[in-house]
């Protein structure tokens, strides 16, 4: 691990000021950052420890939603009574990720900022446009089992590894951040992560020094919540494909449906057209196939991940059947 200076922040304003230095990085749970620092994939010159900041609470908002402090651990968020009751898709997504030990340390803000698990990003002997902009992409033409089928570019085909972020995308969460001027702004989850384009090293819309202070969940969407994750092991593995589905039935037809996908793109993926297509219609195998056709119209495999295209369709249909209780007595 490269040497760094260590600075423990006592207030968000100190943290933001300290982290605006060149080469500085915040550290919260550290489960991903320290791993990457040991491998020298990341080598910050300064760590700003934000664990003592007052961002550990989950509070109800005026509009009936929840404000989740950036330092709330993945365990605490998954086990929170209100989250279990009203945002079950988020509890399930969190519980599907990592291990008990890691969830105790990993934070809400840090989970959003975790880096891809692309093998070539981790291997400092290989070119990677994300790790070393302009060096090329070794994944293209290489081992691509984990890689993207949607929204990739000729510069990067990495996927975002978070499960939590997929559920938050389906829930239309917002990310609250504090900038160097002390002002707070909110960013829609839809806008927070970027597609790789020709700058894959720039993964979010955060500005230098900006600190995530909270994630805000809108009022509960109701309906039935499903998080379906397909992976190479039954536990403690990243998603090959995951689907967050929330559906509210209106009699025999779909009143409202939200779908977000993990393991398939550089960010949690969502397709409004597929949701609009299904609203007001009775759930059926044919309808779900039509939705999958829309979502997968521009999907492109890289060879080793071609299987993800039919797998996403099947996982989507399974999650939708469960969320809409298709075939079950209403």
């Amino acid at each position: 691990m490269r040497d760094f200076t260590y600075d423990r922040a006592a207030a968000t304003s100190d943290a933001v000021a300290s982290a605006s230095d060149e080469g500085a990085s915040f550290i919260a749970g550290g489960t991903n950052l320290l791993d990457l620092m040991k491998l020298e994939v990341m080598a910050p010159e300064k760590l700003v420890d934000i664990n003592r900041l007052d961002l550990h609470d989950i509070e109800e908002t005026d509009t009936g939603g929840l404000r989740v402090g950036a330092l709330v651990s993945n365990s605490d968020l998954a086990a929170d009574r209100r989250v279990r009751r009203d945002y079950a898709v988020l509890s399930r997504a969190l519980l599907s990720g990592a291990s008990g030990q890691l969830r105790n340390k990993a934070t809400t803000g840090g989970n959003l900022l975790q880096r891809t698990r692309c093998y070539y990003f981790y291997d400092t002997a290989m070119p990677c446009n994300k790790r070393q902009p302009g060096s090329g992409c070794a994944a293209i033409g290489g081992q691509t089992r984990l890689h993207a089928i949607l929204g990739a570019s000729e510069h990067c085909i990495a996927t975002h590894p978070s499960d939590m972020a997929v559920a938050m995308r389906a829930l239309d969460a917002e990310v609250e951040v504090e900038g160097t001027d002390g002002a707070r702004r909110t960013i829609q989850m839809a806008e927070f992560h970027r597609l790789p384009g020709d700058t894959p090293a720039v993964e979010t819309v955060l500005k230098a020094g900006e600190l995530i202070t909270a994630v805000i969940l809108p009022p509960p969407p109701g309906g039935r919540h499903v998080y379906r994750k397909v992976r190479d092991r039954a536990s403690y593995a990243f998603a090959l494909v995951s689907v967050a589905a929330v559906a509210r039935m209106d009699g025999d037809s779909i009143g409202d449906v939200r779908l977000a996908f993990g393991g398939v793109a550089h960010k949690p993926w969502r397709d409004d057209r597929a949701e609009a297509l299904m609203k007001g219609k009775a759930p059926s195998d044919a309808l779900f196939d039509e939705a999958a056709d829309l979502i997968l119209a521009d999907a492109r495999g890289q060879g080793g991940n071609d299987f993800k295209i039919p797998l996403l369709r099947r996982t989507l249909k399974a999650a939708l059947s469960e969320a809409t209780q298709m075939g079950e007595p209403q």
Binding site: M1, D3, F4, T5, Y6, I27, G29, G30, T31, L34, D35, K38, L47, D49, N51, S73, S75, A78, A79, R81, R84, R85, A88, S91, R92, L95, S96, A98, S99, G100, Q101, L102, N104, K105, A234, S235, Y236
Partner: protein, 169 residues
Amino acid sequence: MKTSLRINGEERQLDADVRTTLLDALRQHLGLTGSKKGCDHGQCGACTVIVNGRRINSCLTLACMHDGDEITTIEGIGTPDNLAPLQKAFVEHDGFQCGFCTPGQICSATAMLEEAKAGWPSFVSDDLDDIDTLSDEEIAERMSGNLCRCSAYPNIVAAIRESVKETAS
């Protein structure tokens, strides 16, 4: 960097490079070699310790981040003359072969049982709000962060299952 840690009920002082992980602080600086270094990347769980009541991978955190924290290692859970119930259960059920992963398994299971007692669900819980007695499937899911290369899993699950019963009775 100077750091105070309360380890197994005892105040300990550390003055180490900021890069020192909690695991290396315990093993190299404080002589507590019960916690093991397997992968050093948070994948195997051999380094599991309990910090402020929560199980974590001590290899993936810096010692300096834990100034003032309360840490329990395997040395604080039981001794050869006075085994904790879980340790006894591991011996009785032969929950290991080489034993390298065992301190991590015991620390992890100790805290995992507390999580279950607090009603925390897991990914395999059918109902997020109604966590009944831990089934073998629940134990396996909740312990998936602890690998055993000897593959003593059936006996590890049996040892934990017995402790669940004892905790419940």
